[in-house]
């Protein structure tokens, strides 16, 4: 990944909002000179989470524990509840221009709403994402030797596909075709359920994105094996590949499809079912575009779902503070 270090590229958003990527692939505490205004962290479930949450806290003037509750549509912030349409209160309570997100412990909806909250302030803001890959993921104990090992990452999906206010593209009767960009991970059921729960009467095109290259050689096989059933059953438009630990290449895929979807006036929806770097890309894109929809299944992450601390990344994104367009 070091070849990408220092790579810069800019993405001009439709509504003049400009965001700029600055990639610093490998995290090193020594390189961070100025403390962050605020660090957002959530509950750590495994050693890498405890590591990055600890690092994040030490790098910022203030640490904020945050997690989104899909059932109440609100963010729990340091024990207080903020509804998803009162995101300005989050910024009021934690003002800052230089924000650190511990992407290892934060879930996708947390990241999405934090980004939207600060972007809506229409001021320059810099988001840094700290993320540690695992050494290994937990695999299932099988009763049958013939079964291939499966990663056990989630316990349940109680709130599956509940919309997130502000990220719902419209009801079925509007009969708008949708392009759904699905970032695939190691749990094949998640794609199957996504397709199964989606309203079949509206035409949908599924653009499937595999995390290739993966964190570790051969992990892409897990993803292919897990999702191969759905590949044959789903009416899919195309398959894409984007580095599993590279939010920038994920972002490029989204950007490309966003351009393409404009033509037929389809709703573009993102479904981050894959790795956290892919989720970061989805959160940035959707956080900066009002017209993007989200389909998410809120996995309840298993305790000790991974072991060890692999490569740790710091991704940096700057937004210029221009207005976020209305619908």
């Amino acid at each position: 990944m070091d070849v990408l270090e220092g790579q810069h590229f800019r993405h001009q958003l439709r509504h003049v909002l400009m965001i700029e990527f600055q990639m610093q692939s490998t995290y090193s505490r020594g390189r961070i000179t100025n403390p962050f205004d605020v660090a957002f962290v959530s509950r750590a479930l495994d050693p890498r989470g405890r590591f990055t949450a600890g690092e994040a806290a030490s790098l910022a003037k203030e640490t904020c524990r945050i997690s989104y509750n899909p059932g109440t549509y609100s963010l729990e912030v340091n024990g207080q509840s903020i509804k998803a349409n009162y995101l300005d209160e989050l910024v009021k309570a934690h003002p800052g221009r230089n924000i650190l997100l511990d992407a290892t412990t934060l879930d996708f909806p947390d990241i999405l709403l934090i980004i939207r909250a600060y972007i809506e302030q229409r001021q320059e803001v810099c988001f840094s994402f700290l993320y540690a890959e695992p050494e290994e993921y937990q695999t299932s104990q099988f009763e049958d030797d013939n079964e291939t090992p499966r990663f056990v990452l989630s316990d349940s999906f109680d709130e599956r596909h509940r919309p997130i206010p502000g990220f719902f593209t419209g009801t079925t009767s509007e009969r708008r075709p949708a392009w759904v960009v699905v970032f695939l991970g190691f749990e094949g059921d998640r794609l199957r359920r996504l397709v199964f729960d989606a309203e079949p009467e509206d035409k949908k095109q599924y653009n499937l994105v595999f995390g290739v290259p993966p964190y570790r050689t051969l992990w892409e096989n897990h993803s292919l094996m897990e999702n191969c059933h759905a590949l044959s059953e789903t009416e899919r438009d195309d398959i894409f590949y984007a580095g599993a630990n590279n939010p920038f290449s994920c972002f490029e895929v989204i950007k490309e499809l966003h351009q393409a979807a404009k033509g037929p006036n389809a709703a573009l929806e993102l479904a981050p079912l894959g790795t956290k770097p892919a989720a970061i890309a989805c959160a940035i894109f959707a956080g900066c575009h009002r017209e993007i929809g989200i389909r998410y299944d809120y996995p309840k992450r298993s305790e000790n779902r991974s072991t060890g601390i692999g490569r740790t990344h710091l991704f940096v994104v700057k937004a210029d503070g221009a207005e976020l367009g209305e619908f």
């Binding site: 549509y73 349409n85 999906f157 599956r160 919309p163 206010p165 719902f168 079925t172 359920r193 309203e199």
Partner: protein, 671 residues
């Protein structure tokens, strides 16, 4: 290149994939004439399992179909009952709850309902205006709307097309407000008054609409939030003079219906129930076979294939007025005969003959007979005794009988001989309770079980396809689709010159494919899909194990009942999972209950959906059951893998005498 792509014709077997106008797609089922669904001014509950055809029935009853542009000479009577279809957006409804909208949630849902119904009415006005009526067209686009309508929309709304435009704007604003209630709140209203005003206007301006009754059909009621269901129930409870609200719900999903004032809805006082699966079961296999045959021919006809059956008048399929004609014996015979030529069926006798000639089957049959003889220490008897000049059915069944403890070997040989000399007196071939009659199917299943790569012909043939899919026409069409697909792939197949004939072997293979796919699909059945999948796998393996007994003394065990004595020991979670299994039609319950409450699970037989039978290599015919104790049910439903394996081992040990196991060489479940 594939020249005859018949498979495509059966691809769109879910109503959601079809347009709102299903004229030309939906075949009026025979049960419809005996139900109230066509002419009913109070609510109708359309009930059934997944994929049984609730949505397509509703769409058939709604305006897009009634006034279809594909329908010629529509009688004015079609204006008597006009249906408006609404399928709520379930994801959106999750935002219309007190968790998000607090005290506005109910009125917001009412508003969503209102906008949807009014939009459906505008679409309906378009349908009527474009329809080909026998007595001349009706133009409703010029109807002047009363000034009160504008009050709901902040401005003048004069015509239905203006109304349709206003609703679109209104809907967009409503969507934005729902996602951010800090925005300016739109005017939220109930639809009853405005809808009645619009219907009055229609009735007074167009004489042919004077007595029209509108029926709003709400699809997938069970997926609404509980508070939203109460609101719909309020409408169901109070039919109006010009309209009522009906709904569809998945069987077993909801057992009691209440209004917002805690009044219970009572069948038949408040609504009438039409359970599609029960209706198909009630009217019997013959009626299911007829409609399945009609579906087959119609789908092929609709794709412009020549079905070689000029007398087949598809127009009769879509209009209940022709039901009598379709009940005619001659018509039935002709339709069934045509489809039986497409999916030819080998009789069990023919399959028995094959078992004596096909090398793999014959091999397995001889092995079974020899082991039976070995078990009886009578290897002195030449194997030819069971084949030379013997009815193949007797040869096959002998393999099972030899594995039983009784009767004596000489007696069996005597009965074999008698089956030739005096078949009516032989224990094998006698008409009532003969061994052939009782055990032929089971022994054939047994023979095929050892040959997983040989297509089991007992899963082929039109009648058997119906047996495996009844009462679900979607499954039947899946079978047709796969059968034609396999037939196309099977390029070397020279068995039949007519491409519109699927050879039995190909059908058998297709049945296995479809069964496998649908067993896998169970994983996606709701939030508990994984548990349900686990359940069907465990039940299937248990019946599969029962099928592996060479003696076949209790043939075709494929369902279970629950032992009443210790039913109190059933866990709560078992009840829940059982209900889910019924709701998703993974299990069927045979209701022979008398004076028993709806969810008294103790008194009933539970049959796995017969479409799963090919996957497990078991019989799809409901024959014998296994009486299980509560403790065993608990283990099968919720036990750990090890607990279940122990249970299975216990049964297998009980079922197989030690020597029998030798035959089960292909049986490696425990290896």
């Amino acid at each position: 290149m594939i020249e005859h792509n018949f498979a495509e014709a059966f691809l769109k077997n879910r109503a959601e994939l079809l347009p709102d106008d299903v004229w030309g797609q939906f075949i009026v089922p025979h049960f419809i004439s005996s139900t109230a669904v066509l002419k009913e001014k109070k609510a109708v509950k359309i009930e059934g399992g997944r994929g049984c055809g609730k949505t397509i029935l509703m769409r058939y009853l709604c305006h897009a179909t009634t006034f279809s542009r594909n329908r010629k000479n529509i009688p004015d009577t079609a204006l008597g009952y006009i249906g408006l279809y609404w399928k709520p957006d379930i994801r959106f409804c999750k935002l219309l709850t007190s968790d998000w909208l607090e005290s506005y949630s109910d009125i917001a849902f009412e508003h969503y309902f209102s906008l949807s119904v009014l939009e459906a009415l505008c679409d309906c006005v378009d349908s009527i205006s474009a329809a080909h009526f026998e007595h001349g067209s009706i133009d409703l686009n010029t109807v002047q709307l009363p000034p009160t309508i504008g009050m709901y929309f902040d401005g003048n709304v004069n015509s239905f097309s203006e109304l349709a435009n206003r609703i679109r704007t209104e809907r967009a604003q409503f969507n934005l407000w729902v996602q951010n209630p800090r925005r300016e709140q739109p005017l939220l209203f109930q639809f009853k008054d405005i809808f009645t005003a619009l219907l009055d206007t229609l009735a007074s301006t167009e004489p042919r609409l004077k007595n029209s009754f509108f029926r709003i059909f709400v699809d997938e009621f069970e997926n609404l939030q509980p508070s939203q269901q109460l609101i719909i129930n309020d409408y169901i409870k109070q039919p109006q003079s010009r309209f009522c609200v009906s709904f569809s719900v998945r069987s077993h999903a909801i057992s009691e219906f209440f209004t917002s004032t805690a009044e219970q809805l009572i069948d038949p006082h408040d609504y009438r129930t039409i359970n599609i699966e029960n209706e198909f079961l009630k009217t019997g296999q013959a009626n299911f076979e007829l409609i399945a045959a009609e579906v087959t021919l119609l789908r092929l006809h609709n794709e412009n294939f020549d079905i070689g059956f000029p007398e087949f008048d598809v127009e009769c399929l879509f209009d209940p007025r022709f039901l009598d004609k379709r009940n005619n014996d001659e018509y039935r015979k002709a339709v069934l005969a045509r489809v039986r030529r497409i999916f030819p069926q080998m009789t069990s006798t023919e399959i028995a003959q094959l078992a004596c000639t096909d090398s793999a089957l014959r091999n397995r049959l001889e092995k079974a007979i020899l082991q039976g003889l070995e078990r009886r220490k009578r290897t002195d008897i030449p194997i030819s005794t069971f084949f030379d000049g013997i009815d193949p059915r007797v040869s096959v069944v002998a393999a099972s009988v030899l594995h039983r403890d009784k009767p004596e070997t000489d007696e069996i040989i005597e009965q074999v001989r008698m089956s030739v000399s005096n078949p009516a007196a032989s224990a094998f071939t006698k008409r009532e309770g003969g061994w052939v009659q009782n055990t032929l199917y089971a022994t054939l299943f047994y023979l095929y079980q050892g040959l997983p790569n040989t297509g089991n012909l007992l899963y082929s043939g039109f009648k058997r396809y119906c047996g495996m899919s009844q009462p679900n026409l979607r499954y039947f069409q899946e079978l047709c689709h796969q059968a034609f697909l396999e037939a196309n792939l099977d390029r070397d197949n020279k068995e039949c010159a007519d491409p519109m004939v699927v050879p039995p072997k190909t059908q058998a293979f297709a049945a296995l494919q479809v069964s496998t796919k649908l067993v896998n699909e169970v994983e996606r059945a709701g939030a508990n899909g994984k548990s349900l999948h686990n359940l069907i796998m465990r039940l299937g393996h248990l019946f599969e194990a029962a099928q592996r007994r060479p003696a076949q003394g209790e043939p075709e065990v494929n369902h279970f009942s629950i032992d009443e004595a210790d039913s109190v020991a059933l866990k709560d979670d078992v009840h829940k999972l059982l209900k889910e299994a019924l709701m998703w039609s993974i299990l069927y319950r045979t209701d022979d209950t008398k004076n028993k409450s709806d969810y008294d699970i103790v008194q009933n037989d539970y049959v796995p959906n017969p479409i799963y039978a090919p996957y497990f290599g078991i019989s799809y015919r409901k024959k014998r059951k296994l009486a299980l104790k509560a403790e065993q049910i608990n283990t099968i439903f919720l036990g750990t893998g090890t607990q279940y394996q122990d249970l299975l081992k216990n049964y297998t040990n009980k079922w197989m005498s030690s020597k029998d196991n030798i035959l089960g060489t292909n049986y490696d479940m425990f290896s």
